[in-house]
Amino acid sequence: MQPSDEPLWDIVEVSKAYPGVLANDKVSIRLMPGRIHGLLGENGCGKSTLIRLLSGVDRPDSGEIKLRGTPVSLANPTAARAMGIATVFQEFSIVSTLTVAENVFLGRWPRRAFGLIDWDAMRRRSREVLAELDIALDPDAITSTLSVAQQQLIEIAKAVSAEAQLIILDEPTTALGLDEIEQLHRLLRRMRAKGHAILYVSHRLDEVTALVDEVTILRGGRVVRAAGSTAVEVDAIVSAMIGGSVHEHYPKERNTRPEPVMAVKGIASGKGVKDVCFTLHRGEVLGLGGVLGSGRTEIARAIFGLDPLTAGRIEIDGKALRLSGPADAIRAGLALVTENRKTDGLFFNFDGRANISSASLPRFATFGFLNLKREDAEAATLARDLELSRGATEKSVQHLSGGNQQKVVIARWLLSQARVLILDEPTQGIDIGAKLAVYRLINRLTAQGCAIVLISSDHEELMAMSDRIAVVRQGTITDIRAPQEMSHADLVRATTSDNDHEGRTAA
């Protein structure tokens, strides 16, 4: 028998129930050494539960977990680590004040006599691990000075140094730019070649198809498509995930009208934006392509009045916009849906209603008193309109799913009667069904005459949903073209050649 024919880990009919919900229902999955195994499914399908079981965070109610054919018990995270399982969660377990080497050996620092840390050995060994993985990082660098992508590489180095045979990555690319994703994938392929088993969870189908060898899809806690049944192919995956066929997972409608809405004329800001010019028409979707740090987010911030303009001007309907802060931008009909809805989008202390109305308070106020009835009614109408989950307006947004949270943020700007919406990574970290809902929302908005600036690192999404694409490099727009005149390769070439990460630290 070939060595790769025997599974490293064999999970057999594992079930796990939480009070009132069967999160994993007889899930079976075989993880082979030297294979990258994709685990897909919508939010709430049981992916996280399975990861928790494999990392020893939770224990299964029934079923067997076998390591090289022998049933074992993953009683706690320490046991799981001891059996060679390393999990890179979305929230990193990196101590940002420590150096790279200290983090790689976190809690396992090599010791000398009297329990003192053997710094030389630690540096030497972390240099070896980093070299082995082809990661160009200084072991003495303080981790807080590194980019998110580099911190993630440290997490993986940590797993390797602990001699993990199975590495689980939970949505590792949500915060990464295209070139960083490429780097991560190269690293994972190297590890595959060395015989590691990798379990890879992601929402991004394009990168899944580019990387994984086999796919298991979960829906409602059950395996709906086991690995090896068919080739790894996007349409089949999508339909298996959402439980129906999707003819088009980018339901693009073209609604561009000739009248211009907004003209951006040579604006610059202190955050590296320079000489940005473009015109936006009614019903148009203008995509902004470029890597993280290329200045797309900074352009959005400048237009929205968050970073003062140092040059140029913005015209709305031919009238120059006096911009001294977001309040002016909102009054002129602009809206910004930021990349991180958790940090600067949502009010977790508010219910859905107050989240939706937060940018429209002046409209609901007479002499400073809010008309709560009207606020209630208008928020409820929007919630119904956007098919928010039942009761979403009355409960705290922290109890809503990622897709519903995103709808709440977008609803805020529909309520403020925005005519130009800037959407910064609007589908990041939400599942396919919710992505479709966002795309349909974009169609509806453009049909009503709203214009949209779409920032996305998902090139497929950008090409499919934009009417025109502007390529952003180093804070300025280098090229604007229709997506049909732009190949995937153009975007990649235009975006991967610059290597600065300043935008991230500035943001």
């Binding site: 009132g20 709430g44 802060g325 977790f348 202390n349 107050a354 308070l361 989950s389 599942d431």
Partner: protein, 337 residues
């Protein structure tokens, strides 16, 4: 009404009911009308100052300066009325304006100069008491004005005036927090300042207003303090700022900002005073009283922090309800599709 009587009020209210019941059953003189009316007088000053402390906490800040500001404002009041012969009512208005301005100064230093409010108001705590000592060579000023004492000791329809102050100011604060744009903006700024800014809310102005309101309420408390003792003294108001914060915290306000019900602060202040009163009636030494006050704060915040765990434990004792809740969560999670 539903917005007033929310879970954030009912929890502390239930806790206060329990404390009151225990005290009423164990302490004979607790329910005497004289004792109860004394209790209302005792709680009024700290409760009024606590309105400001709570609103600052809602806005994501903290105000440590109110106790020392009371000392300063009573000395200003006493000096104006007694030593400089300024007419009585204009003096009161002047004290209210000065308190509001000192509060606004805290706000400006915090919001515009970006010094953490803890540090700004800690400086105020130290400096205002120093300023108070600069008046009248650091000595108290007594027997201020015949009009002053009735402000605290007077009564209307047989009910002591401080009761009406509590009703009026807590009523106004409740209306402000629930029904006005400023109230909503204060919660928004305290909950997520970045999101508030992106929603077009002028975060710095809102923070400044919150501190100005705190200054105004401290001035109101200062006038009552001067009226109660018919004097001004640089020693008044020691640890009053901490008592006000304790009332807010026992009432369930989150020090992280953005959450809480202003009426809960009154409930928190009452709870603390009832316990202190019970200890007094049972002749507990003041050292013991301080230890118990400390424990009350710990337990109140602990219960708040472990609310989820406590609810889960209680829920597992009642399996039917928790299963229903989990199904609800599942419905919520699956309804995006």
């Amino acid at each position: 009404m539903k917005r007033i009587l929310d879970a954030q009020l009912l929890g502390p209210l239930a806790a206060m009911g329990l404390v009151t019941l225990v005290v009423a059953l164990t302490t004979d003189r607790f329910l005497d009308p004289g004792n109860l009316s004394n209790l209302a007088l005792q709680v009024s000053i700290v409760s009024l100052i606590a309105i400001g402390a709570t609103i600052v906490i809602f806005a994501g800040g903290i105000d440590l300066s109110s106790g020392s500001m009371v000392a300063l404002l009573t000395m200003v009041l006493a000096t104006l009325v007694k030593n400089l012969g300024v007419p009585f009512w204009p003096t009161l208005i002047g004290v209210l304006v000065l308190g509001t301005m000192l509060g606004a100064l805290n706000g400006v230093l915090t919001a515009f100069l970006r010094i953490p409010s803890f540090i700004v108001t800690l400086s105020g705590l130290i400096a205002y008491r120093g300023l108070a000592l600069m008046f009248n060579n650091g000595s108290p000023i007594f027997s201020l004005d015949p009009n002053l004492e009735p402000i605290f000791y007077g009564s209307l329809f047989g009910i002591p005036l401080p009761f009406f102050y509590l009703v009026v100011f807590y009523g106004a604060a409740t209306v402000m927090m629930i029904n006005t744009r400023l109230g909503r903006e204060i919660y928004a700024v305290g909950g997520n300042p970045a999101a508030a800014k992106l929603s077009g809310i002028n975060v710095r102005r809102v923070q400044t207003y919150a501190f100005a309101i705190a200054g105004l309420m401290t001035a109101v408390g200062s006038i009552l303090m001067a009226a109660r003792l018919n004097s001004g003294s640089p020693n008044y108001g020691q640890t009053l700022e901490l008592q006000a914060i304790a009332a807010a915290v026992v009432g369930g306000a989150s020090l992280a900002g953005g959450r809480g019900n202003i009426l809960s602060t009154l409930v928190g202040a009452l709870t603390i005073v009832i316990v202190q009163n019970a200890l007094n009636l049972n002749a507990a030494p003041s050292a013991v009283q301080n230890v118990i006050l400390g424990l009350i704060i710990l337990v109140a915040v602990g219960v708040d922090m472990w609310r989820a765990e406590i609810a889960r434990t209680l829920g597992s004792l009642m399996p039917g309800r928790s299963a229903e809740k989990a199904r609800e969560v599942r419905r919520g999670a699956s309804s995006d599709r």
